[in-house]
């Protein structure tokens, strides 16, 4: 299956990400109204929802930028490295929020075990993705270095 290029699935994924971004922003904006209508009590989990959602939307925005460079059929460029490391940083910030939420639930609220386990899973997931993104960006920067050296060998 072709990913890069004009007929690749990269284009389709990019459109999908754009839709998700727009929907995400809309949900984020309408969230206070939803809470008002449904009479859910405001707790730190719901407040935590905001920074996390913003982080995720920022990551999606970075990935849309990534697909732009895939479109030009040249994935090894400065743009890819920058966007990957930026997504890694944002993901790191999101995992800090999850850790805070996890600690709050564990130490102050003393929530039930399944909920805490779910939060622990999310913390591990986010830390894992952060590490993966940083490794990817490092890999891409090395690849870019080799590509430049190869291009300048005449």
């Amino acid at each position: 299956m072709e990913i890069f290029g004009k007929k690749g699935i990269g284009n389709f994924l990019k459109i999908l990400l754009e839709i998700v971004l727009v929907l995400g922003i809309l949900i984020l904006l309408s969230f206070p109204i939803i809470i008002n209508k449904t009479n859910i009590q405001i707790n730190p989990n719901i407040i935590m929802f905001y920074p996390n959602a913003i982080c995720l939307l920022l990551i999606i925005y970075q990935f849309i930028g990534l697909f732009d460079s895939l479109k030009k059929e040249n994935p090894f460029c400065e743009n890819t490295v920058k966007r990957l490391s930026r997504s890694g940083k944002i993901c790191g910030i999101a995992s800090i929020f999850w850790i805070l939420d996890f600690l709050y639930e564990l130490l102050i609220v003393k929530a039930n075990i399944p909920f805490i386990l779910a939060l622990a899973f999310l913390v591990i997931l986010f830390i894992g993705v952060t590490i993966a993104l940083f490794i990817l960006s490092e890999l891409f920067s090395k690849a870019l270095e080799y590509k430049n050296e190869n291009d300048l060998t005449i």
Binding site: N148, E149, L152, T153, I154
Partner: protein, 68 residues
């Protein structure tokens, strides 16, 4: 550092960049990279062709200078 003195040799042989690039079998853009010392490495095959076309020794084109 290694400096490429292709200009001097080309002037001596009175050959244009376009002609040289065609004879060596590389693009003009790559020849320009070589001439302006932006290249990182040179293949032996390219060096071989340059020496053949310009009828010279590798030492006539490449020069070592002290410092970076």
């Amino acid at each position: 550092m290694i400096v490429v003195n292709l200009d001097v040799m080309m002037a001596k042989r009175k050959i244009s960049s376009l002609e040289l690039a065609e004879k060596i079998g590389i693009t003009q853009a790559n020849l320009s990279i070589l001439k302006t010392n932006k290249g990182k490495a040179i293949r032996f095959s390219t060096l071989d062709q340059i020496c053949k076309v310009l009828n010279c020794m590798p030492g006539d084109i490449l020069e070592y200078r002290e410092g970076e």
